[in-house]
Assembly symmetry: C2
Homo-oligomer: 214 residues x 2
DNA sequence: AAAGATAACTTGACGGCGTTAACTTAACAA
DNA sequence: TTGTTAAGTTAACGCCGTCAAGTTATCTTT
């Protein structure tokens, strides 16, 4: 019970321990179902202590998502160094899918929930368009390279449109798995097969027909 | 205030007026944000009256989704009569996307929210695999036809896998629009272009290369 | 050394939520 | 006429997110 003036380090420690506890609970039982009181109990503080570090519950969610966006981009960064541009594109699809499927609850928050929770104009940490921090910028930069290398079908001329189609395809496979993968209404093929086929279908559909093998 | 023994018709009328009010509110401000009290107030009953017709809030949601699944399949039914199988496939993609984008909140409930809300084993109204009531069965039946007609690339041999890839592709384009379409982080191309390109990309990626024109 | 200010909390409360239990009352059945 | 029952309502329970006010130990100033 003894309050004490804290160093910046100690303040940060509580800050991150709130985020860690919130992340665990959000992942464990979903964001709507976890309460501020639970988060507080898990770290041994009273519920209102959370409000000393975050404006409200959404603010915690926002902070977690911000971290996750950076983590996604960081995880994909190594792929940017692959020399062959078709391989790079292909690996980005796989890397993205792996992130989505191994962090389904993060992914849901990032890409499958309504918009207003995260107003990106408020995100100061991430710099838009910076390929080291923005996964869409990474994708677009690879697509730009491939476009300049003449790898796409001649009728495809818009780099954003191509990028958004690739993103949507992989996102569709991942998000359908996350939201409906346990639904036995459909006789699902294994998710690995579905990701693989999506990647190949997109590649064949987008790349120049002469040399589709990679 | 006068309670009265009701005919089956009158009971049904209240039943559907609850569903109508709930649907409006769910669409208007989202499912989590609408309360039982609001639904009740809108139809002029006390909150607990809803529990005479539905077990709980999720039960209302479940009933709405059930109706929506049937509506989706019904809306796509006319497409099943198109003679050319490639055209049929193409039109099914468009029809599905049109449903998703013109009923975004229904679509979110149906295909973008966590699984446990709707346990389809409890849905007695819809018959699984019946192409008149099950949109996935419609898709699969067209894919089956195309497969038997030799329209797919020779390496594609599993009808479920093909169906699920097509579904995922269109779903990806639609769901990304619904959850991120108003997000200016990305310079989105118009959604109609994105749907069209997705459809064409999937067709080229899946159909036999000789005659991709339709 | 004493007094005041402040950082870091906790306690208590507010209004609203989903839901249940108990009550009310009009219509029906015996 | 007298129950029984259908169709509600009222009141309450235990949650929830959040805010205002109170409480202390520490730091700062004199």
């Amino acid at each position: 019970m003894p309050p004490k003036h804290k160093t910046a380090d100690e303040r940060l420690q509580l800050h991150t321990s709130i985020l860690d506890a919130a992340r665990e609970l959000f992942i464990e039982r979903g964001v709507e179902a976890t309460t501020m009181r639970e988060i507080a109990k898990r770290i041994g503080y009273s519920p209102t202590a959370l409000y000393l570090h975050f404006k409200d519950k959404d603010d915690i969610l926002r902070a977690l998502c911000e971290t996750d966006f950076l983590a996604l981009a960081a995880g994909l960064q190594s792929i940017m160094g692959i020399p062959d541009v078709r391989q790079r594109l292909s690996m980005l699809c796989d890397g993205y899918a792996e992130f989505a499927l191994s962090h389904p609850n993060h992914y849901r928050l990032m890409f499958m929930t309504p918009q207003p929770v995260i107003d990106k104009t408020e995100l100061k940490m991430i710099h838009r368009g910076n390929p080291e921090q923005d996964a869409y910028a990474q994708l677009k930069s690879i697509v730009q390279d491939a476009f300049e290398g003449g790898h796409f079908r001649p009728e495809l001329t818009n780099v954003d449109l191509i990028s958004q189609t690739l993103w949507a395809g992989i996102h569709g496979a991942c998000s359908l798995q996350i939201s409906k993968g346990n639904d036995d209404w459909v006789e699902w093929r294994p998710i690995s097969e579905r990701i693989q086929m999506m990647r190949e279908t997109l590649m064949i559909g987008i790349l120049r027909p002469d040399q589709t093998k990679m």
